[in-house]
Amino acid sequence: MRHIISIRDLGKEEIGRILDEAAAIQSRSYDPSALKGKLLGLLFFEPSTRTRMSFAAAMARLGGNFLSMDSVEASSMAKGETLADTIRVVSGYVDAIVLRHPKEGAARLASEFATVPVINAGDGAGQHPSQTLLDLFTIRQSMPLEGIHVGLLGDLRYGRTAHSLTHALSLYNVTIHTITPKGLELPAGLATELRDAGTEVIEHGDIASCIRDLDVLYVTRIQRERFPDAASYFKVASSYRVTPELLTGTKNNFIVLHPLPRLDEIDPRVDELPCARYFEQSANGIAVRMAMLLRVMT
């Protein structure tokens, strides 16, 4: 049985296969009844309307149905019950499970108890492979992944999307530039691991010092909770804000991505620029998730 738990265990070949499938889907070459008669269980122990909706949409577009349990229902269903038991029970209802859970490693555990495929839709600070796949997919729409320069801006300490993405990028001989406020740097262990894997990781104090070298700027949210007070948050947030002025002189095929929702990280004036790809990125989530569903259910 095929599960999709983490980017690390997918590997480059499998990632390539999913991205190719997603590209085919986007050019409308797919069977809209491929998953007819199949039922997908959306098990969300943590709120995430976007991810849940996009998996539901992906399933519907392949002719399948879904059962959705939101965080409130899921947690009351699981009251006092272990996740292992919940997964065993839900396995009996559906043909595949999409799981979002606050604990790291929850999806791996689920895959050990499920009798149907499990897709990880985010486990705590851990993995979120569908986000990473759609990030890669969006970059690949504009340029080949191999050997590019990717800047990661924002909270790289706690941001799981960034962690997951760096693992994937290291498979493509990408140079990673990090631009972070003090205290929100990439965890040292992760940086070492990337470097050991042969990936160059270059740290920068501000955007201006590397923006012209970049092919991709990946912006992530800087969370207010990480700061002692509003004033220190605003000070940091404003100095890491992406504006049209900052983006002058960038490479020709340069693009800006953001996993959304955004707060103040990107000036809305950037939305008008051709390099702004975050809304396409978000829309790409459907094709990528369709490809993931096909991968585990057919």
Partner: protein
């Protein structure tokens, strides 16, 4: 003769007729070795422990002798995490009947606790902790956390 050798070295431990001698344990780790192989105050084995004994091979070492129990290879390999130079001597009729080193296993199940408080292995789920043994350390199968140093302090 082993008995004589021990006597000359002034060891307080008396020879055993049958059982297991774990020799060349990293000095100071004998009690952790016992913990890892699951011998606690509530088990019934008769055990002698010598710590910080001089050793020609490794400077100082600890030794553990367990009477009337022959440890199996799977039981002892896990001690390689903290005592990679250990040798396992199976004693039969006062003699060393078999001698083996320890090999680090691929996975360590149920011995080490994941230091990540957000890890699913630290909840009431019906699973045992599981770490993949990698070059850089122990990696939690569930949350990817990497333990690189001081493994002993994470032993349950």
């Amino acid at each position: 003769m082993t008995r004589e050798k021990d006597a000359r070295a002034g060891l307080l431990i008396s020879p055993i007729e049958n059982g297991t001698v774990i020799d060349h344990i990293t000095a100071g780790e004998a009690l952790n070795v016992l913990r890892i192989i699951g011998i606690t105050g509530t088990t019934h084995e008769s055990i002698s422990v010598a710590t910080n004994v001089e050793s020609k091979k490794i400077g100082t070492k600890d030794i553990v002798k367990i009477k009337n129990r022959e440890l199996r290879k799977e039981e002892v390999d896990r001690i390689a995490l903290i005592a990679p130079k250990a040798s396992i001597n199976i004693i039969r009729n006062y003699k060393v009947w078999d001698k083996k080193g320890v090999e680090i296993p691929d996975r360590v199940v149920g011995i080490v606790r994941c230091p990540n408080p957000g890890c699913i292995s630290n909840t009431n789920e019906p699973i045992q902790s599981c770490f993949l043994v990698q070059k850089k350390g122990l990696r939690c199968l569930y949350c990817d956390w990497l333990i690189t140093k001081d493994i002993t302090s994470h032993i349950m």
